[in-house]
Symmetry: C2
Subunit: 202 residues, 2 copies
């Protein structure tokens, strides 16, 4: 059965947060059907300046099986956007997995979805992100964190490692190994190994 | 001085080939100005199904300092597209660096730009790619290959390692280290180390 992935875009989303995972999910097109979703359909500008086309708006009634929420400079604004937070909350009620990359976890936190749950984020933005969710059990040393349906990753390229773990979880380890191999990507398989976690803090 | 990067899109381009490098160049926005370019401006569909917006067409007269040419399933068609090959040849006359990721090197090869030069490509498509350039000195074991102005990388995520090496070449090693660190990306710094080169051949 094909799983539908809702890939959430907003102005100032971080390029690789979104399109690293899209590349890897895309290796298994029979299993995953991806759609870019934003508040309104049409071009959405990334933090790097180029534009991706959102195929659907938040008024679309589709229910996604997996949500993919990127970070990026735009999250600083989107944490106060009720349209985005409301859509995330509504989708999360029935979604099988809610995933985020980098500061995307701030959006999940502000939507109240991570309360009482373990989660992580980018190490260079960690202090800001943790303030967006005072009732979240933030994990500093982690490449990514799995807590039930909620999978959150550390910064940018960590999203690819989390995605491969999710592919392994859903389709089996060989499917994830094959995606990594095709992309000639050295998969960091250990969720707890985080070489970037010691830079800014003691 | 800002360097202009022409990021070449065509139907069926590989997502991460393009947007891994875009992410990393984007960490130094004072140094690099990126523009997505295609045969015609407007939405261009990736091999993974979503669309990026090309800001300029090949009839735009801008000269780019750096060309970034991705691979993807679409290269099988584009090797016979005189509009694309002609644009690459014209741009390459004055560009400081001509870079490709994955099967993007087949496009450079068919444009005649790699004749007599060392180059590499994706290991799973190597036999096809080498046929597109019989006068190219193809290097099988390489994460990426530098030959003067022509930098070609192996598959997909190898483009990020090549990009970091180019950033180091242009802006100094700390600038590349900083981009990798911000993206929480473990940079594979050795161009000759290719763990994916031994899978399909003896």
């Amino acid at each position: 059965m094909t799983m539908r992935i809702g890939c959430v875009l907003f102005d100032g989303f971080e390029t690789l947060d979104m399109f690293g995972p899209v590349e890897l999910f895309g290796m298994h097109e029979a299993a995953f059907e991806m759609r870019l979703v934003a508040e309104a359909p049409g071009p959405v500008r990334s933090a790097q300046g180029w534009q991706a086309v959102a195929e659907a708006g938040f008024d679309d009634l589709a229910q996604y099986d997996i949500l993919l929420v990127p970070g990026g400079a735009g999250t600083r604004r989107e944490v106060d956007n009720p349209a985005l937070l409301g859509w995330l909350k509504a989708q999360a009620e029935a979604a099988r997995f809610i995933t985020s990359v980098c500061t995307g976890s701030a959006l999940l936190a502000r939507a109240g979805l991570l309360d009482g749950k373990r989660a992580t984020s980018n190490k260079r933005a960690f202090d800001w992100v943790t303030q967006t969710g005072p009732r979240v059990d933030w994990v500093y040393h982690a490449r990514w964190v799995e807590d039930g349906r909620f999978w959150t990753s550390s910064g940018v390229s960590a999203g690819m490692d989390m995605t491969l773990a999710l592919i392994a979880h859903l389709l089996g380890r060989p499917a994830a190994e094959n995606a990594a191999d095709w992309a000639e990507y050295t998969w960091h398989r250990d969720a707890d190994h985080d070489p970037f976690a010691t830079r800014d803090r003691a």
